[in-house]
């Protein structure tokens, strides 16, 4: 039907360009998504996805429960789907598309003939002209077709019809090109006997890392995140995840990161499968090894160290501190990622800054001899300190652009040395109505 004809029939019809490539892509993604429930999936253009559930349905509590789970998740994802399970792909295809809604989507073992008997011959995935030819012969249902003698039928309508019929009934094989999603780099290892010893876990993690690194090397990728999951014999899954600061294919390094976390794994009654996936990868070209040791110390690659520290302490607890252009002391430093490029910036060399900075500053009771003089005496944490030497003030104005209410704020910083040689950093904020308040913000060495 032409677009013009459709528009004439239905006024105001919405016209969208067909995008077959995008549809095929989306279908391939959907097929890859279905990998969570079964090891083999394949897109079936234009509108279907094959899922080979042999051996995996019991993980979900049977085929019916598996279909319910799959249906729920697909609907949650916004897909309108019909599902069917059968011994042969052809039967499942036919039932999913042509069976009445009230019939069960589960075709029992060996029940293909009964399930497809009442379906139209289109359900056999025949070409439209073949369907038309069969209709001229008065054959509309699969049952009618199946009842005819094969020899004359083959002569009359061609071998393709019989081939399809045999595929539905399981008399002929049907190969499917199962999709292997390229982005998932996964290696697995199943064990004949459950394992639980820490040393065994370490060896498994090391072996899997070696396999995965080889896989990544073939694809020219480096790992940024590894997900290691163990399946326990009682069905529980324990997963752990390590990240790296930069893409790497260093098997020893990755294995070490994983082994450091293996103590978290509770093997219970034993683990019967391990699966290591590169959850996040980045392109990493092969590098040429150094042929000769020139004796020069190259730039140290800290990524391995950062990874180990992050695996122990947490990724956010490894950092560098970089200068921020701010006069307010507590704002003059900022945490940066540990491998941020060094830019050579530092703090102004002429400003004295304490080794320890208190945040928030601690209030002190101070006595100054003159309104603008450094304190002569102050009480901090209940102890009286007499000032013998002072330097200042260094005046720091509030940054009105950084925080509201700082427009009028002002701090006069003094370095003071007490009788016992301790050096403190004390400031007085702007004279308020109740008089200046004194704060102790830091300790010099």
């Amino acid at each position: 039907m032409a677009v013009a004809q459709a528009q004439a029939m239905v006024p105001g019809i919405t016209v969208r360009e067909a995008t077959p490539e995008a549809d095929a892509d989306a279908l391939a993604r959907l097929a890859a998504w279905c990998l969570w429930c079964a090891p083999l999936t394949a897109p079936d253009p234009p509108d279907g996805v094959w899922v080979e559930i042999a051996g995996s349905a019991h993980l979900f509590g049977g085929e019916a429960a598996m279909l319910r789970t799959l249906l729920t998740r697909l609907r949650a994802g916004g897909c309108t789907v019909r599902l069917a399970v059968a011994d042969t792909p052809g039967a499942a295809w036919a039932v999913a598309r042509f069976a009445p809604r009230e019939t069960s989507p589960l075709v029992g073992p060996g029940q293909m003939a009964a399930a497809v008997a009442s379906l139209p011959v289109r359900a056999l995935r025949l070409a439209p002209e073949t369907v038309a030819g069969l209709a001229e012969l008065g054959i509309e249902r699969v049952a009618q077709l199946a009842a005819l003698p094969r020899g004359p039928l083959s002569l009359r309508v061609g071998r393709a019809v019989l081939q399809r019929l045999d595929q539905v009934l399981g008399h002929a094989p049907e190969p499917i090109a199962w999709a292997m999603p390229a982005e998932a780099a996964v290696v697995r290892r199943a064990f004949p006997e459950p394992i639980s010893a820490p040393a065994t876990l370490e060896r498994v993690a090391t072996d899997l890392t070696g396999d995965l690194v080889a896989l990544l090397a073939r694809r020219g990728l480096g790992a940024r995140r590894l997900d290691l999951s163990f399946r326990r014999v009682d069905g529980g899954v324990h997963a752990l995840c390590v990240g790296t600061a930069s893409a790497t294919r260093d098997a020893a390094h990755l294995a070490r990161l994983l082994c450091a976390r293996l103590a978290e794994v509770d093997p219970g009654f034993g683990l019967d499968e391990a699966c290591l996936a590169a959850g996040r990868t980045e392109p990493l070209a092969a590098v040429q090894g150094e042929g000769l040791d020139t004796g020069e110390t190259a730039q140290v690659d800290l990524a391995a160290l950062v990874d180990r520290l992050a695996a122990r302490a947490g990724a956010r607890r490894v950092f560098r501190v970089v200068p921020v252009e701010s006069r307010v002391p507590e704002r003059s430093q900022r945490r940066a990622p540990p491998l941020a490029p060094a830019d050579g910036r530092s703090w102004p060399a002429d400003l004295a800054r304490p080794a320890r900075l208190f945040e928030p500053p601690e209030p002190v009771q101070a006595t100054a001899l003159l309104p603008d003089a450094p304190p002569a005496l102050f009480v901090w944490r209940g102890v009286r300190h007499r000032v013998v030497r002072a330097d200042g003030p260094e005046r720091v104005r509030g940054e009105w652009w950084a925080a509201e209410g700082e427009l009028a704020s002002l701090r006069d910083y003094y370095r003071v040395e007490t009788e016992d040689g301790a050096r403190y950093w004390i400031y007085r904020d702007a004279p308020m109505a109740e008089g200046p308040r004194w704060w102790l913000q830091g300790v010099f060495g």
Binding site: V306, A342, R353, A355, R356, E419, A422
Partner: protein
């Protein structure tokens, strides 16, 4: 002793002991030393300087926070005079990085890792101590045991990373006096009043004590020196008013007397 030259015999024995201490029969790796630049201190230390690739402990002499801050800067000043990246293991949030830059430790060189549990800190220090290529690791610890320090010392010897454990409280505050440690040397730092006669608000003044040092010619009393705090390149200096007046012989006497 019938040997012709006692010195050479002693040297041979020392080398053999050093080999034994390294735990294997292989030839010991070359050991580097970082001089303080003060002959009074350097002359006491084997190798005329602080041994690199070893574990050193720095503790405040007293409990006040200013002494602990002095320890921090003392450690930063040592590492500022080395080359290469530094790992700083934090146990509290109050370290102010600009102060490290002021004693010569450029922010580009330092990677920090923080944790709040003492038990987690030493493993982090050890990760750093094992990592060949770091110039040094600083661990801000509350206490160390013999086992932990032995581990760190062995890691440091193997990797060549200098490990400085900066204690937040003096050893005596734990009630057990000085605890056992396998560190190559143990220092105490105390912030003391600057000279009354000094004009203005100059560099701070520390009393740096060397409490023990493996292979050092220490007397029964720990040696200590009055020094000016680290300058912008991490160097200590003798106070001007002492340096002017005292003869080297007199300084040595002071050192021996503590």
């Amino acid at each position: 002793m019938t040997s012709s030259d006692p010195r050479s015999v002693l040297g041979t024995l020392r080398a053999r002991i050093a080999t034994l201490e390294r735990g294997s029969g292989t030839a010991p790796a070359p050991v580097a030393y970082l001089p303080f630049g003060l002959s009074a201190i350097d002359r006491l230390l084997p190798g005329r300087g602080l041994q690199l690739g070893a574990l050193h402990e720095v503790a405040p002499a007293q409990a006040a926070i200013s002494h602990a801050a002095a320890c921090t800067l003392f450690a930063a000043g040592i590492l500022a005079r080395t080359q290469g990246p530094i790992l700083w293991c934090l146990a509290a949030r109050d370290l102010f990085a600009p102060a490290l830059a002021r004693v010569g430790l450029h922010p580009d060189r330092v990677i920090y890792v923080e944790t709040y549990r003492e038990a987690e800190l030493l493993p982090l220090v050890e990760e750093g101590a094992r990592f060949r290529g770091l110039a040094g690791v600083v661990g801000e610890v509350a206490r160390t045991g013999l086992t932990a320090s032995r581990r760190l010392q062995l890691c440091a010897e193997e990797s060549g990373v200098t490990v400085l454990l900066v204690r937040r409280a003096p050893a005596a505050a734990e009630g057990g006096g000085t605890t056992a440690s396998a560190a190559t040397s143990r220092w105490s730092v105390e912030a003391v009043p600057a000279s009354r006669r000094a004009a203005g608000f100059g560099r701070g003044r520390w009393r740096v004590g060397l409490q023990r040092c493996r292979g050092a010619a220490l007397g029964s009393e720990p040696a200590s020196w009055l020094v000016e705090a680290c300058d912008e390149a991490g160097r200590l200096a003798l106070p001007a008013d002492l340096a002017e007046r005292s003869h080297p012989q007199a300084r040595q006497g002071r050192a021996a007397a503590g």
